[in-house]
């Protein structure tokens, strides 16, 4: 009912509204950004980002869709939540970073980013979770590294051996009992997610 919030949830028209609509949880407050820079100043990986979170938000407000989705910024977000708790406008920055990642993947932008393999890491991780219900580090490391960093894979092999030697890595993944139930839930969730909270979905 409130005019102030109405702008944000209604069927998205601007890029900003689209981002807000695709971000679950309470009110993201994205439209309230003061451009104060607290987020950019706080971000541990801010040094290596192409754009600071603040700049990204200015670009979102300006409707610079391509540039935003191409940026490596969301992929360099480590989910430390520093920006989010310090933001004077209580903007859900970390959640917005996740949203931008999803948008970039969906629209294929990430391949242009300097963090092009980051999504693959997430996807490989998820693959194991979806098939076994648990994550599987050895599988993740081998598959991901062989694909993207064959050189460092050799280095990683040492790391992996160290893990194995210390009993910190299993050779085989663990599977939960009720994997069918989990898969049914995830399938349904993906089906529903075409509705909202996902890029392009109407709210």
């Amino acid at each position: 009912m409130n005019a102030l919030t109405r702008a944000s949830r209604a069927s998205p028209q601007t890029f900003m509204q689209e981002v807000v609509a695709a971000t679950p949880g309470g009110d993201t407050h994205l439209e309230l950004c003061l451009q104060c820079g607290t987020c950019g100043g706080s971000c541990p990986s801010g040094r290596d980002m192409e754009h600071t979170p603040r700049q990204l938000f200015a670009m979102i407000a300006a409707g610079m869709r391509d540039e935003v989705l191409k940026s490596n910024t969301p992929w360099y977000c480590v989910s430390c939540y520093y920006c989010m708790v310090r933001c004077p406008q209580e903007i859900h920055i970390t959640d917005i970073m996740y949203t931008l990642k999803r948008m970039a993947i969906k629209e294929g932008y990430y391949q242009e980013s300097t963090a092009a393999d980051a999504p693959d890491f997430s996807e490989t991780f998820i693959d194991f979770v979806e098939n076994y219900g648990r994550s599987f580090e050895l599988g993740l490391a081998t598959r991901y590294h062989l694909k993207h960093h064959p050189l460092s894979a050799i280095k990683m092999a040492g790391f992996g051996l160290g893990m194995l030697a210390r009993g910190r890595m299993d050779l085989r993944p663990t599977k939960i009992q009720n994997i069918d139930q989990l898969q049914a839930i995830l399938t349904k969730a993906k089906e529903l997610s075409n509705g909202s909270f996902e890029p392009g979905g109407a709210s």
Partner: protein, 691 residues
Amino acid sequence: MNHKPMEEARIGVYVCHCGTNIAKTVDVAEVARWVGEQENVVVARDYKFMCSSLGQDLIESDIKERGLTRIVVAACSPHMHEKTFRGACQRAGLNPYMFEMANIREHDSWATDDRAAATQKAKALVEGAVRRVAHHTPLEPLPVEINPNTLVVGGGIAGITTALELANAGYHVYLVEREPSIGGHMAQLDKTFPTLDCSACILTPKMVEVGQHPNITLLSYSEVEKVEGYIGNFTITVRKKARYINEELCTGCGICEEKCPKRVVDHVFEAGLGYRKVVYRPFPQAVPKYPVIDRENCTYFLRGKCRACQIFCPTKAIDFEQEDEIITFQVGNIVLATGYDLFDARRIPQYGYGRLANVFTSMEFERMVNAAGPTGGKIVLRDGVTEPKSVAIIHCVGSRDKNYHEYCSKVCCMYSLKFAHLVHERLPDAEVYNFYIDIRAPGKGYEEFYHRLLHEGTHFIRGRVAEVTDAARQPGEEGKLIVQVEDTLIGKQRRIPVDMVILSAGLEARHDSREVSQLFKMGCDFDGFFVERHPKLDPVATMTEGIFIAGCAQGPKDIPDTVAQGAAAAARVAGLIHLGTVMMEPVRAYIHEELCSGCRICNTLCPYNAIVFHEDRQVSEVITALCQGCGTCVAACPSGVISGAHFTNEQIMSQIEGVLWDVRRNGNGKQPTVNIQQSTANVQQPTVNEP
């Protein structure tokens, strides 16, 4: 089940457009047309600006020419223009209480965009008013005498100004100050922006004047404990805390202070940056001049030994047996000027105050640069000797931040610029960095002051500081405080190593402002600042008649604004005293004694003890002079024999019927009883100017 008025009411209804304020959302012409069809409505018009003189003329001429006996104006809030329209009624010879206002602006057109719903609601509100006004009876306002004495609470620059203005106008003032001396925050400041005059130099003469003024009773080291009564006649109870000093004997020589062997950190006047003795005056120019003994820290009170002060006092003025004194007096008006607290910078741990020694608050810095302060005016690090080579001044600490205070504190940009200037002045070689979100300098000479600082070579970095840390990453950072920030103009993270950090903490409401507002029965806003009667048009009055506010107690502001409010509050009070009486709304309760059964339900309910019980006749009675018309007893009397003037059961019940006209059974489809005046006013009148 219509509540029928006593005699045939002839009602005129006026629906205001308020330019487009109402007309944009409410179909005013339709409302006027429709209400014209309702029972007892003789005239119904819509008009551009009802409060304009032409609008009022319309009412007056209709009353005279068409014999209207009751008037309804559907426009803005009655708090805005009820008085205006009552005046119009009166001028036309109608008792002003035969009037009722329907609020279709604040409560309707401004609260929604939905034109159909707004129009429907407007009809409901108007119909409520029409039904209600039919039951109005002529009333006369009640005169209340104003006691010419005034209470001023808080002796900062706001309270001092108010007290002096009134005292100089010849009226007596009781000035109650909680601390041992008046002066407030201004006494702590060094220079004042933007002109950089010495704060003490301009304040002290005023403090002395307060101390000596025959019309001012200064009650320092005192607090108001109880407030009873109402405008014109408040009874105030003040607790004058024991100073343990006999004021009649004390000459203010200061020997006791000199001889006292114990010192403690002074968290009040020195803002924690310096020490004071246990028997002390906050500062040399304190008014009144008498010291106080800080009982909590005094060795004699703690251990029963010492008495150094007593032994050395030449006039035997030290009195350990002294007790708090309770004083009561009467006043007609009250001005609250209790000021502000500085935001506690410890609440933002990433800025390191309390952890990192060389992080200072703004008030600490004020004391540091003050020649009478703990460092004698030298700018040094916490060790007391090292001069900083670089200073960071961080703006908006605790302000403009939803995690703390959403509002802008208004003065910290300016005092931060002042600080930068003072550092340049005292340490010409030091680098000064101001970290800001926006520079807010909207005052006379303020922007010019900002330009001056740009000339002086201050580094302005636009970006809200993320954190202040001593965790060095690079060699150049070792041993320094590092200010980490995104320089938003460059779009890059920067780490600036400095020796000293000053946190420009914001102003916040007094920590006890809520209790104070309850004591005086007036309102506090969400942030704890006192609420003014109208944010633009009545900034020093409150919702409670006879209680005014001034200075930072109302909201953050600088000294010029504070002084202006202090004087404005004094002018308002002086006006009331000069009149001698005020007219109060005749909204009072009345007990029909012949029907009162003497059940005594009502007896304990009145907050003003206005209800007395006559044992002989076994009936209760309301003392009109005491009753303030809340209506609590009216609602409670199980026999229904208390009536509340202007808010009678019939009036409210009829209004309920009216506002539900569209959903009531039988509420619909009234036959048109009288002629319809359809939007005629617009046509008849030439263009009207804004009221």
